[in-house]
Amino acid sequence: MAIDGRRIFARLQSVLGLAVIFLLAVLFSPKSGAGDRIFLEAGNLTDILRQAAEIGVMALGMTLVILNAGIDLSVGSTLALAATVTAMVLTRWKTDLGQAGHIGLAVLAALAACAAVGAINGAAIVSLRIQPFIVTLATMIGIRGLARRLTDNTNIDLGFGQDVASTFAKTGSDKTLVVVIFATLAVVCAVILARTVFGRRVKAIGDNERAALYAGLPIRRTRIWVYTLCGLLSGVAGVLHAAQNHQGNPNAGISYELDAIAAAVIGGTSLMGGSGSIGGTVVGTLILGVLTNMLRLNNVDSNTELMLKAVIIIAAVWIQQIRISPLARRKT
């Protein structure tokens, strides 16, 4: 995929919104006792990354889905499923695999369950020809019920001891690990999109489904994989969520789908499908992360925070796109 000047320019632009928000955050940051800006402290900056990672990982999968002209509302419930399955396997199963093996098993079980949810989404969409919004709305509802049922409506605590569950929670909430996982997955997804046959098909089908049909692309198979990947990535987010929160909570992740979609769309991905990028989504995730951190550091009243957030989101998105030619964003 060749890159010409215009694209690089467009990419620079999409960082503009982030840069502006970052500057605002620095400017308005409260100072610590020593007079340093708290926002810029290394601890705070890495906190932002860590906090953004969960939504970020989901947003990666969401980007694939949206590029494919779909939507996945079930990611929040899937995250909860992953968190509960992980916690259940860790606390309720006995294995003789040793701690590492047991943790591996738990993570695998969670990821497999989530990939299955995604595959079901995809299969229902292609074989019943129902709009993705409806299918994934249904699984969003149903999987939430499943997660609650699995745990009998209770949170499963991972604890703070020396047992396998606690070890998992301790390891999995390590800041570096979380950020590295997010970064790695982002790179993997970017490579898939830009450099693989599969990735190109994902975009092509979202761009013009009829042309894809005429070109003989395997629309159904590709689509099922897209939703499976999205489910899988939500699963990863769920495992991280469980570790960081020391619990498997079946009510976790409610309304996260909106955040994940927002991260992708703020990053320039069009809900009409076909146009967008992983890089943009990472930027979108960070915009949301820095924005939230900025408002919180300043201890803004939470209602004012909501109102400011609305204004700043719009401003950031607007800044990102002001100079992009109007032709480029017309629906074709």
Partner: protein, 304 residues
Amino acid sequence: GGGANKDTGKKQFFVAFSQCNNAEPYRAAQNELLTRICSRSGDIRLSISDGQQDTSKQIAQIETLILQKPDLLIVAPNERAPLTAVMGKAMAAGIPTICLERDIVEPNYSAYVACDNYAIGKMAGQFIVDQLKARYGKPRGKIVELKGLLGVEAQINRHGGAHEVFEQYPDIKVVHEAVADWLQSKGRERMLEILRAQPEIDVVYGHNDPMAVGAYLAAQELGREKQIIFVGVDGLGGPAGGIKKVMDGVLAATFYYPLAVDKAMEIGNRMLREPGFKPDKKYVLSSEIITKANAAEMYQKLTF
């Protein structure tokens, strides 16, 4: 940390309250009460942050609060386990920390102010049994229970406490349990269907007042509100609170769920000002029944 007040030279204290979700009337009342208490003492700068019912958000907030080094940190945890670690971090950073009403997994706090929902459930259960005895001369009758969000501690214990009482009386049956997520609108919706399915209902027990009021609205619509005794929990003051509903005759009773911040500040103030003071690890607050008899008086006390 606490700096010197420029005007008076007096020491100013910075108190941070990490609230799990402002957008609940009970929490709003807590915030209001705490604000009043702090402004009364004159040398306290209070900052309330809102976790918006999202545990990750609350954790992040506490993390940023730690960086700001408050003199006292009060936390109303959204969930138990996830907040344990971050409150440990606050303690490790040397910040005196008070935990409100939801116990976390490890005792990572200086003091814990507890409200006993199980005891409240038992009180409510006993009240209902007494009412049924009064109605039928013996303990029998049909109860509808409207539950809060499943899995939440208050829901589990308000349910468990009441059922412990009900189970002693074989003729008292909970004929329908529905989940109404603490909301008045859901309480109303669920109750409409329940009224259709259950021709006889003696008591509605709502895990909070709004759900019980919602049930009342539904019954009123079908003209059955007179036959049913409505019982709620929380007993907030103000025109929208449960106490007013008891005064209006909508609820037969409600059970005061302590706002807890007054107790927390009582302990906190001593920690701030009395160098040698060592708080107990746990303070348990007791509930109070509110019926027509004491509603007006409680309304005065709890309306700010």
